[in-house]
Every structure is written in C-alpha cells, then in structure tokens.
Symmetry: C2
Subunit: 247 residues, 2 copies
C-alpha cells in the first residue's frame, strides 16, 4: 500500500471522516486476504491546518490576494512529501478550487475530488450534476472545469438567493442542527432544476457538512432522496484515495 | 498555540479520539476569547502507522528483539519533528512502555501519558491506581515507574487469569461487543482489590478500547461506577496535550 498524505483541518470533522473512511476501506479490502496479526493499514501522514488562518487568508479576485493561503497549503504538501507520502489528498472540496496552485512544484500526485466525481459519473452514465457547496465552490469555474474532462456538465444554483440558502443549510449543519435540513436541500434542488431536467441530473453534496442532512446515508457514495439521485463527494473521494493507495 | 505531533494508527479509532478531544479542547479554550473567523485550532501533524507491522514486530525480553519496532516509532517521531511539531504524543498507552527508546535522540519533548496520570493523581490525592490495559502494559514496569515520581503506587491484576480476563474484555470491545463489559470490568476490579482497599484505590482504564464499556462516560477524565472511581487515560492525556500546546 502506498503512503497517503492528507491535508486536513479544513475543518477537523471532515478530516476524521476521510481518515475513518480510508481505514475502513482497508479493513474491507483485507477481509478475504491472508495475513498475520491485526488488519494491515496504509501509513498515513496528516497535516491538519488552522482553519482560522486559512479562512482569514482566503483571497479574492484581486491578483496576489491568495498568496498567503497558497503558501500555507503548499508548505503542508511539501511536509507530506518530505514525510514520504506517495499520494496527497485535500480533505475538503473547497480548497480544490486552487488545486493547481497548491500542487505546483510538488512531485507527489494529488488525488483530485473532481476526478473522483468525474470518473464516478462517467461509469454511471451521469451527464448533469447540480453542485451544492461553499461559496468558493459555487462561484468559481474550478469544479465545472474539473469534471468537464469526463463529459460531465456541472451546474451551480443559478441565483445569489439560492446560493445563500445553501450556505444557511451548511451553517445549520455545522452546528449539528440537522432537523429539516434534508427537506430544505430538496426545496433548493427543485428551485434550481425543473422536474423534467431532474430526471437527468444528480445532486452532488460538495461539502462534507451537507451530508449530515441525510443521516441514514452518511457512508454511502450515492443514494436517493424523494426520487432524486445524490452523490456524497467525500465518500467517493476517500474511496478513490484508498483504491489509488492499494494499487 | 504550539504545533502538536501525534504518532497514531495504534489503532486508528484511538487516533480519532485524540484528534477529536484536542480539537474540542481548542473549541472550549476559545469559547470566551475574542477572534475573527472560525475557531482557532492548533496545527497538528499525525503519523499514522500500520498496526499490522508494529504488532508483528513487537519484541520480547530477548536483547535486540525490539529493534525494528523501535526504529519504526523513532522514524515517525523524526518525521513529526521535521514537520515542525513542538510537542509529540503517542496516541496509545501500550507503546509508552518504550517511550525512552522512542524519544532517544528526538529533541522535541514528548507528553507522556504516565505524567498526565501521575499529575492528575497528585492533584486529586489519589495514592493507589489499579491499571487495566494490554498485556505489555500489565507485564512491564514502565507504567509503575512512570507514575512513581508523582507518589502514585500503580498495581496490576495480580494473576495471569485476571490479566487474561482484562484482555478478553478488550477483545470484545474492539469488536464493539459492549454488552456486559462494564460489569465484567467491575468483577475483575473486585477480584484484584479488596473492598477495604478499593476505598483508597482508583481504576485506570489504560487502553482506549476499555473506555467503550462505559458509554455514558466516554468523554470524562474521571467518573464513578458502582462506587469505584475510574480514570480515562486517553481523555486525561489529550487534555494535558492541549494544555501544553496552548501554554
């Protein structure tokens, strides 16, 4: 198994999810294998950042405004590389918007969440994805461009009001106020996509907090809710990471 | 806040507990502090080892038999040091038995679980501790010697049969078979220590799995069960780590 490097702390509950999903994937993988002693696990290095620093140093569209943020993530990637990581993963969707800048000059390959989602959609004949996530995810082209190579058309909530409604749900879930959030997401989805188009569209929960709304489906890569198909980006991503590690 | 280094994966659920407890301690610490943005968190580096390798390379009383095991832990400590960790913690009681060998040549200080427990006992006038843990913990002098400096007398289950009973409970809990385990621990405790001596003795759960037997007290550093005082070694340890980090 290859050594995995995780850039985490963005936020910490999401890092726990990635670490747990990877370790459980190793348990699953070794279920019918022969070995002596405890279940083999990949070596994993985690660099858990200070979310207060990273969020307060987010840039804007101004040139050079992401300098401190980029440097913080690039240094974390360098430390993982120095610790022997053979593949690196960002344990959050949002920073993927700057994956190009973060991975610049790092020779260890990154496992991109866009590629996990794109490959899954390609395998399951999913052409259209409605992405719900944080503001940087829903307002930059990174996600759209990231899945385009797999023939997937990603759309975001079309108005500022709808985007704000997604953020409100994320903020409620961040405080573990789960009641009514699945229904709230369903309402946003139906305001974004017509019933006719929903037949050919899958909703991508592109923020770990959002998955808390669907408690019974927490560990599932995909599930249905009220007749609509959903993808859990973190579960898909962690599964891809373990596959890459076990190769 | 100082950067924390965690040697983990021994096993992985215990690493999640340490990471979660440290992050929650930071949330608690910042509750009445003034800051902008998300709650500040310490930077944390984790080196998660392969439990299959570490357990299969445990040594014996034979000279030189711990060479591979020691090297694996020392290298992890070196990587944490290179990643900028300013204090290092072993996220498990068992490997503390070789803390001296692991920390040899590492200039970053280790926060020892023996010192966390010793200091807690000193502060709370606890003189006698019955230690329940894995076989290496209950058969070597490391724990006894580690708390002696704090005026604490540590005892282990006195017979092989009693020690085996502790291991049986740990193995059941490792598979999440929690039913009846609190009562089983109570029976072992009363077989180890007379009712008279129990008045002046506290039981130390010196293995993260054991704490699962007392579900309602999972996050408590100390609690009572059937009139006996218990200490949760991991919770005490994680609290000490955060205190050292925030200093």
């Amino acid at each position: 198994m290859k050594k995995i490097g995780i850039i985490g702390g963005i936020g910490w509950p999401s890092t726990i999810e990635y670490y747990r999903l990877i370790c459980e994937a190793s348990q699953q993988y070794h279920q019918d294998k022969v070995f002596t002693g405890p279940i083999p696990m990949p070596e994993i290095s985690i660099e858990s950042l200070n979310l207060n620093f990273t969020v307060n140093n987010r840039g804007s569209s101004e040139p050079g405004s992401w300098l401190k943020w980029d440097e913080c993530f690039k240094k974390a990637a360098s430390r993982l590389q120095a610790s022997g990581a053979e593949l690196i993963v960002l344990a959050s969707v949002t920073p993927h918007a700057r994956l190009k800048e973060i991975s610049d000059g790092i020779s260890v390959p990154f496992v991109s969440i866009y590629e996990s989602i794109g490959a899954h959609c390609q395998d399951h004949n999913i052409d259209n994805v409605l992405v719900l996530g944080t503001m940087p995810t829903m307002t930059t082209l990174a996600f759209k461009n990231g899945v385009k190579a797999f023939g997937v058309n990603a759309i975001y909530p079309s108005t500022d009001v709808l985007k704000e409604q997604v953020i409100e749900v994320i903020e409620a879930l961040y405080q573990y106020k789960t009641q009514g959030t699945a229904l709230a997401i369903d309402r946003i989805v139906r305001a974004c996509v017509s019933d006719e188009d929903l037949k050919n569209t899958v909703v991508c929960l592109g923020c770990t907090d959002l998955t808390l709304a669907f408690e019974s489906s927490l560990d599932k890569a995909s599930f249905d809710y009220k007749g609509v198909g959903y993808l859990n980006a973190s579960v898909l991503h962690a599964a891809t990471v373990y596959q890459a590690c076990a190769q």
